[in-house]
Amino acid sequence: MNKSVAVAGNSGPKVRSDCEMILEIRSAGGIEIDLTSRVRALYGESIKTLCLAILKFFNIENVLLKITDSGALPFVLSARLEAAVKQLTETGKEYLPEMISQNNYSATRERFRFTRLYLPGNTPGFMINAGLYSADGIILDFEDSVAPEKKDESRYLVRNALRQVNFYGAERMVRINQGERGLDDLDFIIPHNVNLILIPKCETAETVKAVENRIEEIRKQYKIESEVFLMPVIETALGIENAFEIARSCGSVVGMAIGLEDFTADIGVPRTVEGNESFYARSRLVVAAKAAGIQPIDSVFSDIGDMDGLRATVLASKAMGFEGMGCIHPRQISVIRKGFAPGVAEIEKSKDIVWAFESARSNGLGVVALGSKMIDAPVVSRAQKTLELAERLGLLKSNWRNEDRGQ
């Protein structure tokens, strides 16, 4: 490394909660900090103190540091400075902010993944409140939402966010890059309690295995006990053809998602609202996921202004067997959650079916009837699943059987 000036972060009139650090290594003269900040009157001293501590940590003694700050939180300031430092010096050291205690939670294989909010991995302003919208998961994204020249610095930002930002119980997910860069991304984040990794443009079972192997190595090295789940994202024709193999490639795979923008591009057709061009792919993905016992997850809906269109898409998606969708804006979350949750009529009908089934059994009857209609075992099983879901979502009390059932 023989660069002497490094730049990290973002500045500009529209930038919020971020900063730009320009670091120039000098041969002498000590540390000089030139700070421009909209919160200078309140945090000027604390910003300088933090930066001096970081420079000392990395043994940097002679430097001009120019900071343009637009209200960056400490975890952002330190990520930006570390990213700049690492452009100029070779070091294995990491300046890790405290892991807040609220972030030490793990996920379970069967938890709901109806709603997962995508967060661009180099935009701190979106991360800070992301956990407040009650999405089932948040996805810190290294892939499509980060410009190629910002990929390196986003690693420090996402790592620090995983340690410092309270996501209020949302499953902590990261979408890594494709290929080798994606595997290297894992080194930066797996030690910081990630619950799930999304593997983009996944086409083969081998890709999933490579990710799992790398995660296992890191888990051993850092003695990490909690599980890290995987969710491959299928975005090509080849991926669809291999969907079942991908779905059952590793024990840690808990869900499989489809990405339709890339898929339609891959097969060379425009993506339509009706989605006829991807109907087979989506069906195939649902069937493969169900066969492997994992959750099939639908693509994102990209028009954030069209809530009616989103609502219709969610219902269609649920009807095909999908169990969740990605969200690209917080406003989509409640619409998607409501869409995947069982409706009032569905719950009532399921209660009737389960009730009829249970009373027939207690009367020793082999045949279950509701009114004049015979009910098959799969119908009962589906009703039971609906009620379990409703109970877990808090839409139905677990003691519903005790409720008065007027005739």
Partner: protein, 519 residues
């Protein structure tokens, strides 16, 4: 120059004299009782006015001269033309050309369009502004550049100051979207319609001289007479009193920010679960994006339950008008109009009527509308651990906003502040407010995206939401969370010089703003 100060009932160090006038330190909420009679303007005689009722004067300059414009006078204006006002600046342009000095500008509020007045503060035409200051004007004051000391009053406090004789208006220059030659005037009609012009009421009743400036002369009688011509000296017709697109919004809009929507949703849930929202409820909500979103959620809840708000106090917006027209609100009593839908409603709905702050907010009224309100949605730049609120300065010490009706509104039954826990790293909940504008005993609920804090004085509200599942926390917990995320801010450094005083609704001094030390 050392100013003698005392500690007032709110624990703030305040002076006993400002701008050469004795002032009274804050004594506590509802404690101060002025004695004597209300101030009265000089006695006029109708013999001195034209018998045909035609008071037209060729120009504003001529009218100001006829009113005897002189050094040191107090000139008042209203702010119904908001950021489209073309009249206020004109007054001082004329005064400056005449070589007049040391005027006091007494507006009901200022806007960015008034920033050019800085040059008349610089050249000595204006000594000081007694009114709300925003943006660059506030910055100018904070940096100690204004000659006199600014006085910040609430809308109600402005009426009180006029009635107490604290402020004696020499000339009121009142822009009116419609007027007849006698000076009867209203806020509708013409190309500069602003809906109502109620802020001008105390001005025309109490000023020594009153000039109405209009760009829409109508036949006598101009009705409804929001300004009554019997109080008016001169009428001036100009090409344009305002820029229509900056007077009212074509349309006000609810916020699109997911963070603010979250706070609005939480506020609506709180109103619902606490039982504050009920059939016959009375409410006021502003025109800010979050307030509008709350109004929309409240509207939905009222509709779901088949309830109706008995009246709403405007700041009217299309969202309030929709409640009225859908049957979820009985009346709109209106102090100011924010968008075109509201102007239309005011002209067509008999249940939508002007209601000046003179009637709603004034300390010297025999009862007030605000204390009759169930739901009061307000903002703040800072709230402290004792629930004290600040609306005029930012945490960095800069004076950047006016009080508006905020202090007056604190007298409502349930004062609710939906605010973010921090803005661009700056915590909104702090140990102690930079400037005290409203005592904590009047602020009931703080609703942030990270939880709700209820004033411990409101045990009834605390009990009402027990077991509701709402994220109720102590204000200390919220403050700690903000500091955990943002870090603890350092304090701005002030020097001793007082650059502005904040008056309480009764005219006493609740706090002062000192000059910022700038490096």
């Amino acid at each position: 120059m050392a100013t003698k100060t005392v500690i007032n009932a709110a624990g703030r160090s305040v002076p006993l004299e400002i701008n050469g006038q004795a002032v009274i330190p804050f004594k506590g909420v509802g404690k101060h009782r002025p004695e004597g009679t209300k101030f009265a303007p000089p006695v006029p005689s109708c013999s001195d006015y034209p018998e045909d009722g035609n008071k037209l004067i060729t120009s504003l300059e001529e009218a100001l001269k006829k009113c005897g414009l002189a050094d040191g006078m107090t000139i008042s204006t209203h702010h119904h033309l908001r950021d489209g006002d073309l009249v206020s600046n004109k007054i001082f342009e004329i005064a400056s050309a005449m070589g007049i000095k040391d005027l006091v500008w007494f507006p009901s509020a200022s806007f960015p369009c008034n920033d050019p007045l800085i040059k008349y503060l610089d050249d000595g035409t204006i000594n000081r502004i007694e009114g709300s200051m925003n943006g660059p004007l506030g910055r100018y004051v904070s940096e100690g550049k204004m000659k006199g000391t600014a006085i910040l009053r609430s809308h109600g406090g402005r009426v009180q100051a006029i009635q107490d004789g604290d402020v004696m208006i020499d000339i009121a220059v009142l822009a009116a979207p419609s007027s007849d030659t006698f000076g009867n005037a209203k806020g509708t009609g013409g190309s500069s319609a602003c809906g109502v012009i109620g802020y001008a009421k105390a001005d025309y009743l109490y000023a020594s001289k009153v000039i109405v400036v209009t760009d829409n002369l109508v036949d006598f009688p101009c009705i409804p007479m929001e300004i009554e011509g019997i109080y008016v000296d001169y009428v001036v017709v100009v090409d344009k009193i305002g820029l229509p697109e900056k007077i009212v919004s074509g349309t006000t809009r609810i916020t699109k920010s997911p963070d603010r929507l979250l706070i609005a949703e939480l506020t609506a849930s709180f109103l619902d679960r606490s039982g504050i929202l009920k059939d016959g409820v009375t409410m006021q909500a502003g025109a800010g994006g979050t307030s509008l979103a709350i109004a929309v959620f409240v509207h939905e809840k009222l509709k779901d339950k088949g309830w109706k708000a008995s009246f709403g106090f405007g700041g009217s917006t299309k969202y309030m008008v929709k409640m009225l027209e859908d049957g979820q609100m009985g009346y709109i009593l209106d102090a100011q109009v924010f968008d075109l839908d509201s102007v239309r409603s005011l002209e067509t709905n008999v249940t939508h009527v002007p209601y000046p702050v003179f009637n709603a907010y004034n300390y010297h009224s025999k009862g007030n509308l605000t204390s009759m309100m169930d739901i009061m949605i307000l903002g703040a730049t800072e709230v402290d651990l004792n629930f004290n609120g600040n609306v005029v300065t930012h945490s960095d010490g800069y004076l950047l906003h006016g009080i508006g009706g905020w202090q007056n509104c604190l007298h409502a039954r349930n004062v609710i502040l939906p605010i973010p826990l921090f803005r661009d790293r700056i915590p909104v909940i702090v140990d102690e407010v930079t400037t005290l504008c409203g005592p904590g005993e009047l602020i009931d609920v703080i609703i942030t995206e990270r939880g709700i804090a209820i004033n411990p004085l409101r045990k009834d509200l605390i009990d009402s939401v027990k077991g509701s599942g709402l994220p109720v926390k102590t204000i200390k917990e919220l403050k700690d969370e903000a500091e955990r995320i943002c870090g603890k801010p350092q304090k701005p450094v002030f020097d001793d010089r007082i650059v502005a005083a904040v008056k309480w609704v009764d005219g006493t001094i609740i706090d002062v703003i000192r000059k910022l030390k700038t490096d």
